[in-house]
Symmetry: C2
Subunit: 467 residues, 2 copies
């Protein structure tokens, strides 16, 4: 190394040791300092550069740590790096070219069934619970908790499902996760690759995508007025079926008691047959009592119950849960030992308090009233256009299905909707090609709109639906 | 149905319609009302029971919804349920017997390397950011956001990795997730089953478990003083290697610049070869500059960078991220379309603000000082026992490795530690059987203890380590 060529600038911000480090590193990368070359001693270099020996030492230490130099005891410092350093110190090529797809042209009205009413969210209660939980006295909540979710939240969920859905479960059978998809991925990871899934058709297409993405066979099961067809189940011989018995997506059909019994019978015939019951939107039923879940009838442990706070509270919170039958729970515990909880522990305790203090129940009652009013309002708005425009489905949920019986095709309606910047969700989005409907149908989500918006949106959509 | 046998009690809380519903349901379940049986008209039943017709109607509607009855237009109401109802209405057998394993006997000192100092967490800043984000003006944050994580957080992370780690990446290449395990599961789901992983040995055993749990071959790669052995990589011919180049777990070895170059060279030789760089604990280096990550040298897109806020902030927050090379990012976007973000959107925005407002940097500087003091303290405590008890490893991280060179075996030391209720983590926990150390070694995590505790704990552990 040509010691004379080092120039350290004491007037700039960069520390001297860092300037020296950078200089020597570049000399090595440029191969001006070859492999094996001995460096001058720290003292000598310090004297020459008129810096403290400490400065040289710090620079050398960093170069040693990064593997450019090595120190041999009582021998001195040698260049360690050699060979092909072509990948080193290229500024990493930022992949700026990858940007997200351009946003769609601005939408006037979006009938997505995945929205909720955000105006009634109890912000102040939530803030106050945050303030209580994020507190110096809760140091322990900063560390990792239980992989299945903290006991407090699981106990609160057990309490809730008992009182709201009649399910008597031990909190230890509950797994909390960051969304139904995360829980399903955990469940799928426990199953043999040959597992076959039967899925309601029409139904929740995300589940079909998820199951097939993870390499499992997911086949559609026909629906009839009593729920998923038992003949279709018997014909397919699946290991697992995915159903929404209390409120079929998207029609709202309630699976009849007979059909439930037949499905449970089917599951009980095989040791490893399971029913995945997604108790989706069950909170929002506007007439009579809520429909009891199948899990309530599951005496022999063949029902996996999925619940979520996405619709009942807020989707962006990402908290869902599953209740596992004993056999699967044991597998979960024995095999998913690496799995930490996927939900912030602070959020878990906030939600647990929200449930325990009765705020959740209050919120649900309030939302039920709000959604019922919107539901009735939308029915009223469509009423004059019967029977050529007809609403289908049960007295429940956050969307209706609208059937257009005047000869217009789905394609034509979608073309018109796009022109008018209205986002419509045809039933074909939610079904395999097997499902044939005689008239075009659309899922009309109303939960996220205010009444004035609903009125305006329906006015627009009716002109689109009319000949 | 024997109408005379219905008894509705007007003095109790249960609504009349619910009593009637329950009565009819039980009649059907007990098969006293057989399949196909016609029920009396609503009017007739209402008169007989001296209740309003509305009460009967509500009860019938619920029974219809649940599939016990059917209504035939202009004909009346008929029993629909029949056949084998044996699974119905059993109280679900609560699986109370499944309780978690009993807690271990109370531990006096736990040297887990997974703890952090929780006393220095900026509770009041965090609370105040919570208050700002959970606000009526942020309705939109209640709805689902971007599956990769909200842009604001990704931009804040991009800013952070640029300034702290020198990585220049587009925020669109970042995926935010609820922990490294969740992100790894997403990544694994994109790979063919035949993908072979090479993993540093000793190393992060959770990763080995995770990779093998998801059905992939994960093989150990020997380590030497320059990092993971390039000969071992060449011999195994893996598709992916998992490495911790800036701070090897658990020894703290820094992968030399040569080895980095060789590894990048290896990756560049195959189109689908990738280096998973877990930049674990890189924030906590106590001498010199931080070690630059390999991602910084990754000009050709073969490095997947994993980062986490578990150690640098708090583990219970469950926020980690990965920076994907272009090709994998495209696969992620095209194939994981069902994947919603696994992190609460409110938490994402709180963290984004924490970073953007400089609080994160301030926190890191503060923690670096605290941990350095503890690190130096622990070295000082062990100093008098050299060379029979020796600390290994770099000037970094939240743990040290302690080697006991006096002939005591690992087994004997663990037996003593258990007796003294001290939780020790031998190196064998973190290694495959291939790894042979000549003297027993233990990972000594110190981050979660106060200095007085460290002093006390080390005093105990030294008596255990001595002949």
């Amino acid at each position: 190394m040509d010691l004379l060529s080092v120039h350290l600038d004491k007037t700039i911000d960069t520390p001297l040791y860092e300037q020296l480090y950078e200089f020597i590193k570049q000399e090595i990368i440029q191969e001006r300092l070859p492999y094996g070359q001995k460096l001058p001693s720290k003292r000598k270099l310090a004297n020459h550069l008129e810096v403290s020996q400490n400065t040289v030492e710090t620079a050398f230490e960093q170069l040693i740590a990064e593997g450019y130099l090595t120190s041999r005891p009582r021998m001195g410092f040698y260049v360690l790096a050699h060979g092909d350093l072509e990948f080193v110190e290229h500024a990493s090529a930022p992949e700026k070219q990858i940007s997200k797809a351009d946003e769609e042209p601005s939408i006037l009205f979006d009938f997505s069934p995945n929205k909720i009413d955000t105006e009634a969210f109890p912000f102040s209660v939530w803030r106050s619970l945050n303030r209580q939980v994020i507190d110096e006295s809760h140091h322990d909540l900063l560390l990792l908790g239980d992989g299945q979710g903290d006991r407090q939240l699981r106990a609160a969920i057990a309490h809730y499902v008992y009182h709201a859905r009649g399910i008597d479960c031990d909190p230890d059978t509950i797994v909390v996760g960051a969304g139904i998809e995360v829980l399903m991925q955990q469940l799928l990871s426990l199953l043999p690759r040959s597992t076959i899934f039967g899925i309601e058709d029409p139904g929740y297409q995300l589940m079909v995508k998820l199951i097939t993405h993870f390499g499992f066979l997911g086949r559609p099961l026909d629906m009839n007025e009593e729920g998923v067809s038992i003949e279709a189940v018997r014909l397919l011989e699946p290991d697992y079926i995915y159903v929404t018995p209390s409120n079929h997506f998207p029609y709202g059909t309630v699976t009849s008691i007979n059909r439930r019994s037949q499905l449970l019978q089917w599951a009980n015939e095989g040791e490893d047959r399971y029913i995945i019951e997604d108790d989706y939107d069950s909170e929002f039923r506007y007439t009579g009592k809520t429909i009891p879940p199948m899990k309530k009838m599951d005496a022999s442990g063949h029902v996996i119950y999925l619940g979520s706070f996405s619709k009942s509270l807020i989707p962006s919170l990402r908290i869902s849960y599953m209740i596992l039958p004993k056999k699967l729970l044991e597998q979960y515990r024995n095999r998913l030992t690496f799995q930490q909880s996927t939900v912030s522990r602070i959020d878990q305790h906030i939600l647990a308090r929200f449930i325990q203090t009765g705020h959740f129940e209050k919120h649900l009652n309030r939302m039920r009233k709000i959604y019922r009013r919107k539901f009735e309002f939308i029915h009223q708005l469509f009423e004059p256009y019967k029977p050529s425009i007809q609403l289908l489905g049960e007295q429940s949920g956050l969307h209706v299905v609208c059937e257009v019986r005047n000869g217009l095709t789905e394609k034509e309606i979608l073309r018109r909707a796009e022109q008018e910047r209205i986002k419509l969700y045809p039933i074909s989005y939610y079904a395999s090609k097997n499902v044939i409907v005689s008239h075009p149908q659309f899922v009309i989500g109303f939960a996220g709109m205010r009444e004035e918006e609903i009125e305006e949106a329906v006015k627009h959509v009716i002109t689109i639906f009319q000949l």
